[in-house]
Amino acid sequence: MPPGLYAIGTPDQNSAVIVTANYKLSFDIVRSSLAGRNLWLLVLETFGINVWCAAGKGSFGTEELVRRVDQAELANLVQHRTLLLPILGAPGVAAHEVSRQTGFRVNYATIRASDLPAYLDNGMQTTEAMRELTFSLRDRAVLIPVELVQALKSILPFLISVFLIGWWTAGLPSGVYGCIALLGAMLAGTAVAPLLLPWLPGPSFTLKGVVTGLLWCGICAITIGLGSSPLAVLGTLLGLTAVSAFFAFNFTGCTPFTSLSGVRKEMQLALPKLVVVGLTAAILWGCALLG
């Protein structure tokens, strides 16, 4: 939907002004949770991006907010001088700059749009709960499908290689088992580690992925087997664990609590080790196949 000023119900000069992004999901939640009230909704141009990401990139920002306030002639439309903003928009907006340039005071209201009715009913006071970021099992689960598609794309060449090498050297079932083992390791890092996130040892995401990877190795060991020789078994153990650890580390980008400095540090510490482990696994398998 285009940016600009919208009316919910029949707002007047005393109605609150809520600022949001032109991200369909936020807009819909804001509109549906505020149905039956009379409010102004000021939608910023974030090019279809959600508030949090748009604030990080600056499109949900001071400049855009000031421009929309001017364009909508908000100062003539309402008598009060308060804008209600989502808390997660704060990385892009300098509240004092907005006040200086428009005369409107910025109130960071809630993190979740669904808390807006409670905020309004609470005399526009933010409670601790409205300010607390959560990352529930459900929040994590909804992120997984997109991650799975990305992960599948990135391991496709490896899947094909494993399938062909397995097939040529030990027959079709080996090729299929190899693919199952690799896919399972990818799932262990992309789906299982995120779901079990708070219960896995950490704080390193790589470590969490190592644990789920080893669990998957255990499942493989009692079902399809890990390999026909000690070298192959060791190669499988190392390879599957490294794959799972890598994909678990990749989930840092989906969480709302990992810092850039933290991820950079983990990358420096863990990634070289994962590469070495992965290469070792490949060499062990090479030896097992040739020997």
């Binding site: 990401c53 997109v146 990749n250 709302p256």
Partner: protein
């Protein structure tokens, strides 16, 4: 967010208490309750919870706060690392 903790002692958050006027903006915008107001001044009470979103620094009217803001995303860092070495990947979702 008490259930989720990431690496310790890594955040780039810097705070000059001398400059603080106690407006409380940082408490309002921080999604991880890093700050608390004590005797009319902000105090960092949970440094390691900082995810470097930059909201506090951006909203501090007296620039008492500074942080190198960014996104803690492994894929983003890897893409950047590869790009610096001349390897171009197709743009991902972010």
């Amino acid at each position: 967010m008490k259930k989720f903790r990431y690496l310790k002692n890594v955040a780039t958050l810097k705070y000059d208490e001398e400059l603080c006027i106690g407006c409380g903006r940082c408490l309002e915008v921080c999604p991880h309750a890093v700050f608390k107001l004590l005797n009319g001044r902000a105090k960092i009470i949970d440094f390691d919870a900082c995810m470097e979103c930059g909201a506090c620094a951006k909203n501090c009217p007296v620039t008492a706060l500074a942080v190198t803001a960014g996104v803690g995303c492994a894929a983003g860092l890897l893409t950047e690392w590869l790009r610096e070495r001349g390897v171009k990947l197709k743009q991902d979702g972010c």
